[in-house]
Symmetry: C2
Subunit: 208 residues, 2 copies
DNA sequence: AGGCTAATGACAGCCGCTGACAATTGACAA
DNA sequence: TTGTCAATTGTCAGCGGCTGTCATTAGCCT
């Protein structure tokens, strides 16, 4: 961020991202063309593609930002915590600092609404799931290192993270369909779903 | 399959699917255009899109076929089995009858190689993950009905299926990267990974 | 001030995909 | 058998995402 050039680049990127998210959350993803976004920032379409690999990358950019913070949060967890507990605390912690990160670029409101856009748009949901898998691979490596394991020989890190991710995905999905669609509700849902995941696998579901 | 018309339709669909899979597994997905596929069957590009909603649907069609059988297998499981056990037996059973289903359209070899193509091609992997999530929703409904639960009030069916699906995804992914890339190896991996998933969540990973 | 390099715009073109309409071909009854 | 109806296909035109190329502009550095 030193030179004028770098500041200018950052500003156009932010402007593109802002316009993209605004258009996606109002007009919808499919009904927004890349030309629309570029025009809103008064930039050529070609320039858009120099900042984002594709239309979908612009839609998921905020998410990726938050995800990075989550990964760092996992890394920052004390080594004595059990893996699943570390993941649990890392997510919940991320939700706390989320506000600050997001609002440097767009209003929190827009970020939340993007969740629903993603969930409603097949191609975006697909891309989102793929990103999530990549994230899981990264986190599995973090956990493996924490515990001193070789991931190529021991599948447990990947398995644990995949299971955790699965629970989080169900949480996310159900959350976006709720009336109380805010951070506090997400927090509660996350906690209860993580609690119920274990029993759901082992216990009988039929009421005793 | 009664009338000539229906038989003809089935034949062109099969031919398109066969050509698509052959081209994808040899030339690669991205390097194969829809025009290539249509030309190989001597049909217009427009006709291809009348049979497949998109290029990716043709790439995942075989997989969807197998998935349907898996869902039926779950439905067919005796009601006294615990949910996770029913899923486990259903998958393993599916792998047994897989051969017959697939070989009605393409050689089994092609089907297996498509796994790697999917895993290597970001856009295909994304679509595959989305399909998997839809499958999980369906299966959750099946389990909920088996156990007499209301999915809207009780998250356990979705959670259990999501966790099961997560383990299967890790299995799939690791399997495609192995030397012994055949059905028998997949069988073994599935069994051991499903065994290790539980302990991976609760036990300490550090050697005692 | 002037040369260097990075960022942008303009243009052409490929590919996936869709709508519309005309032509063809099988189904079915008179 | 033939004529009518409906389903299948081909053709064409066009949009939108995305990329390569090259000329132009604008910040950087001595």
């Amino acid at each position: 961020m030193e030179t004028l050039r770098e500041r200018k680049k950052q500003r156009t990127r932010d402007a593109l991202l802002r316009s993209a998210v605004e258009l996606f959350t109002t007009r919808g993803y499919e009904r927004t063309t890349v030309d629309d976004i570029a025009a809103a920032v008064d930039v050529s379409q070609r320039t858009f593609f120099r900042y984002f690999a594709g239309k979908d990358e612009a839609a998921l950019a905020l998410h990726d930002l938050v995800t990075e913070r989550f990964i760092e949060a996992v890394r920052a967890r004390p080594a004595h915590e059990a893996p699943m507990e570390a993941l649990r605390r890392a997510v919940l912690g991320s939700w706390d600092t989320l506000n600050e990160i997001v609002e440097e670029v767009v209003p929190l409101e827009w970020f939340l609404r993007m969740y629903r856009v993603i969930e409603e748009t097949p191609v975006l949901l697909a891309a989102h799931l793929r990103h999530s898998e990549e994230t899981e691979e990264t986190i599995a490596r973090v956990l493996a290192e924490r515990e001193g394991l070789d991931m190529d020989a021991d599948p447990r890190p990947r398995l644990a993270v995949a299971v955790f991710g699965a629970v989080m995905r169900v949480t996310e999905r159900q959350w976006t369909r709720r009336e109380d669609f805010d951070l506090e509700a997400m927090r509660e849902l996350t906690i209860t779903y993580l609690e119920q995941a274990g029993p759901a696998l082992t216990d009988s579901w039929r009421t005793h």
